[in-house]
């Protein structure tokens, strides 16, 4: 009988063509993250927002109902540093450069992105910081997002509903935006918040056009000069705005405009030496900072550095591995062996030190691989709750988005992931994903992880 009702409802929904306005998942285990686990409860979403959650929640009469028996509902996962949606972007946003993973799909770059890329390459050789080398600080991810990027479907298959996507070319890559991974007709629908911060890479220095800077110290001095210039620029602009008469007109500088518009900066650091260096640098620049990378966070005292500096960390899920075809006579250093052995323990160290942290995919797109990578951190001492938090509420808090995403709470955006089994277990299946209250089903996930996941029609429940 119940089934019949559902079927009828689904039929109605199709007839409406817009997808259900109200969705209820009932009798499911609910993990809100912001509060205690509800062993058997109901989540109601209306017009893309969570309208109710709890044990004894009335299912609205017009709701399209998902029977949640045996299912677990989590907040949609957030990838705290991603390039998903950026056309032509390399998937990896590795700290210290050298993006690792390969893109599964490389859509044709849009004209805007191509222009950004070629502008950097074809620019005349930079002769110093004043030429603003490898800088597209004014670029905003929200302006460049392509709703047709196939990676959107791929990563959604692992339960990721939201990415904080950054333009990552050059030294000042540009400003990130939080986007919902939906099948949108217009890019604007996808954007949750923007701009969220300036992506800075220190790897841009080498062999890129041959101009300034070519060394790490050159990159650092360039960044330092930019922030000195930005401060001066503001001063002069303000003075000019106050009384332009008799004053030389300050030159408009889009590189500085982009830097000034960014509410925070993201700096890379994997080695402990780099962490120390970047935390000092951040303090000197007086910018709110997030550090990304964190490979050597397991080392004694590393997490404490961040506690002391009160700086959040994005931990790369791309754990170091032994190169499979490494020369047997050329053994890796003790340090790199330790990194391989203990890098996944870094997250637990951060938790212990009381540092705010989140995970980021670092170019890992395939659903199973992300789950597997998180599992490694759990095996290395991080609790399941904290692992989940590091992919939901914590990234939301780090970017100041916790009032809209990151947990299952009344009033928040209807981003959910529904699984059969614990979300970070090897055999767990992501049954469905809700983004802005709309349901997406991963394609029948073949054992070992699916690829090229097909999207259901919005609202469809085949």
């Amino acid at each position: 009988m119940k089934k019949l009702v559902t079927a009828l409802l689904v039929f109605c929904v199709y007839a409406m063509a817009e997808g259900p306005i109200t969705v209820a998942i009932r009798n499911a285990k609910i993990v809100p993250v912001s509060g205690p686990v509800i062993n058997k409860g109901t989540v109601v979403m209306h017009k893309g927002l969570i309208t109710d959650v709890g044990e004894n929640v009335q299912v609205p009469a017009d709701a399209w109902v998902v029977e949640g028996e045996g299912l677990t509902v989590y907040p949609g996962l957030i990838d705290a540093l991603s390039t998903v949606g950026m056309p032509g972007a390399a998937p990896a946003a590795a700290a210290g450069g050298r993006g690792g993973g390969r893109g599964q799909a490389t859509p044709t770059p849009t004209a805007a992105i191509a222009a950004l890329a070629t502008a950097a390459a074809a620019a005349p050789r930079a002769m110093g910081p004043e030429d603003r080398p490898q800088t597209t600080s004014w670029a905003i991810a929200a302006d460049e997002i392509s709703p047709t990027d196939r990676r959107i479907e791929t990563v959604r298959g692992s339960g990721i509903t939201t990415t904080v996507t950054f333009p990552t070319r050059g030294i000042f890559g540009g400003q990130g935006s939080a986007i919902d991974l939906m099948s949108a007709e217009k890019t604007g629908e996808m954007v949750i918040a923007s701009p969220l911060g300036q992506y800075i890479s220190l790897a841009g220095g080498r062999g890129f056009g041959g101009g300034f800077p070519t060394s790490l110290m050159g990159v650092i001095s360039y960044i330092r000069q930019i922030y000195l210039d930005a401060e001066h620029y503001k001063l002069v602009k303000d003075a000019y705005a106050k009384d332009p008469r008799g004053m030389e007109r300050p030159e408009y500088d889009r590189a500085l405009e982009g830097v000034i518009a960014s509410p925070r900066i993201l700096l890379p650091a994997n080695r402990m030496v780099e962490m120390d260096r970047m935390l000092r640098f951040a303090a000197e620049l007086k910018q709110p900072t997030i550090v990304y990378g964190g490979r050597e966070m397991y080392r004694e005292g590393a997490a404490d550095l961040f506690k002391k500096a009160n700086t959040p960390v994005l931990v790369s899920l791309k754990w170091p591995t032994l190169a499979p075809d490494s020369d047997p006579d050329n053994t890796p250093s003790m340090r790199s062996l330790e990194d391989i052995d203990r890098a996944p323990a870094g997250a637990a160290a951060l938790k212990k030190a009381g540092v705010k942290f989140a995970f980021y995919s670092d170019g890992i797109d395939a659903p199973r691989d992300i789950q597997r990578a998180v599992k490694k951190a759990i095996d290395a001492g991080l609790s399941r709750e904290d692992a989940l938090r590091a992919m939901t509420l914590s990234p939301a808090e780090i970017y100041g988005l916790d009032n809209r995403v990151g947990s299952i709470e009344k009033g928040k955006i209807g981003n959910l992931v529904v699984t059969r089994g614990d979300i970070f277990d090897d055999r767990t299946r992501v049954e469905m994903v809700f983004v802005d209250g709309k349901q997406y089903k991963p394609a029948d996930a073949t054992p070992g992880g699916g690829r090229g996941i097909a999207t259901d029609e919005p609202g469809g429940n085949r």
Partner: protein
């Protein structure tokens, strides 16, 4: 409870060990002769030096019978302990970059330098540019973080470079990477001089802007400050005498050129580095007050380094130049003691004079001789124990102290090796087991 006590003891141990007595050594003080006796170290400083000293209660005693004690070796020209390249070779004036930003305290060369008796090193930018980057003096405090490596109070420096390197970096006809690098001015020695003059012309204008601003502020006005320019800021400091110039040079003519340029702009060259033809213009170098930091017997690696003689160091010293011997190389850095020994063979330096070339003289050149460079009461306890006469190839460093703390111990190093090797092997086996098999690269899920 037992744990608590143990912890307390562990915490207190370094406090108790703050007094160290090195006994029965042949002490080569460099400043005040050589004698057989003892050195007392208290709170990181040399507290007493003498043939007979009282051993304070609770002091750690190091018996150095038949061994030699010298002040820590100072290398006036090194490029170790840096991350991400030591040349910002894209521009001919790169005074905006700073070695201080890229200190890597975990560079194994630091530990190896310690094993060669080096306790302090002047870490320089490379020589690709007429005016290179800002430099820094480090103590080889292995195990400490970057900031703790910095020789507190030592004047910052800047690297200049003359001759082939700065002109070659810009010349598409030659030099490494020439095919991939576009031409860069300058390509001649004339151009190098012009580049330096041009930069200081700019710096003078910049300095005048700031001086004007400061005087206006002092007069109670509220002008908008000038833009702070990191490149010119460093050169302004050179003009003001607060930043030392360490100039890479070879030929006599270019040395004289640089001294004239410095005189014209009213600044001093603190040290001439390499300076292989310094013996030809030693009087002029002495008159300017520049130090000279050279190699003992290393030359002919390029045309401008051909007209060199092993007597260079001795001749310059005899003409009144403060001379040091440097390494410019992580390997050579580990045996500067025997480099100093060569000055005895070539030029007849005394033991003390020769040893001074890698201790007290570089300390003077770096303006840190009030702190290090000799074994004298009140100076930092940066000390090296050798098993044999140190100005010899056969001498091996036994222990190295910096600020009274032991940073290298040969016995501990050698005895600790098997355990370290075993630990590494264990990890390697473990990771080989865990590593993905060939043909199944990690980070990629979609199979089939």
């Amino acid at each position: 409870m037992k744990k608590l006590i143990l912890t307390a003891i562990a915490v207190m141990a370094p406090l108790c060990a703050q007094t160290i007595v090195i006994q029965n050594a042949t002490v080569m003080t460099v400043a005040k002769g050589t004698f057989k006796g003892s050195v007392v170290v208290k709170d990181g400083k040399i507290a007493e030096v003498g043939e007979k000293v009282m051993v304070p209660q609770g002091a750690t005693v190091i018996d150095a019978t038949n061994q030699y004690l010298i002040p820590g070796i100072i290398d006036c020209h090194s490029h170790i302990a840096g991350d991400g390249g030591i040349n910002e070779g894209s521009v001919s004036v790169s005074s905006m970059v700073n070695i201080k930003d890229i200190i890597n305290p975990e560079d194994i060369a630091v530990y190896r330098a310690l094993a060669g008796g080096v306790t302090t090193a002047n870490i320089l930018h490379g020589s690709a540019n007429a005016i290179g980057g800002q430099t820094i003096v480090l103590k080889m405090r292995w195990g400490k973080d970057a900031q703790s490596m910095i020789f507190e109070g030592a004047a910052p420096g800047i690297k200049f470079a003359l001759g082939e390197n700065p002109k070659r970096a810009g010349n598409p006809q030659g030099g490494r990477g020439a095919t991939t690098t576009a031409a860069r001015y300058p390509a001649t020695r004339m151009g190098v001089e012009d580049t330096i003059r041009d930069a200081f012309n700019e710096a003078k204008i910049y300095k005048a802007e700031w001086d004007d601003y400061k005087s206006k502020v002092a007069a109670g006005q509220h002008p908008i400050p000038p833009r702070k320019d990191l490149k010119l800021e460093a050169l302004k400091e050179v003009l003001e005498g607060t930043r030392y110039v360490h100039a890479h040079c070879y030929r006599a003519d270019e040395i004289l050129m640089l001294l004239r340029v410095a005189d014209d702009y009213g600044f001093k060259i603190r040290t001439l580095q390499h300076v292989l033809e310094g013996y030809k213009v030693a009087k002029e170098i002495a008159a300017h007050g520049a130090g000279a930091s050279t190699f003992s017997d290393w030359w002919s690696y390029k045309v401008e380094a051909f007209d060199a003689i092993p007597y260079n160091a001795a001749i310059m010293a005899k003409k009144g130049v403060v001379v040091s011997l440097n390494s410019d190389d992580a390997e050579l850095m580990r045996h500067l003691n025997s480099e100093a020994g060569k000055a005895m063979k070539y030029g007849g330096m005394t033991e003390t004079e020769a040893l001074a070339m890698v201790t007290l003289n570089p300390a003077k050149q770096l303006g840190i001789d009030n702190r290090v460079g000799s074994i004298e009461v009140g100076k930092d306890a940066d000390l090296v124990i050798y098993d044999k006469f140190p100005l010899s190839d056969y001498a091996k460093v036994q222990k190295v102290l910096i600020d009274g703390h032991k940073y290298f111990d040969r016995d501990e190093e050698v005895s600790g090796r098997p355990a370290k090797a075993a630990e590494k092997q264990k990890l390697l086996e473990k990771e080989k087991q865990a590593a993905p098999r060939q043909g199944a690269p990690a980070g990629r899920g979609g199979r089939g």
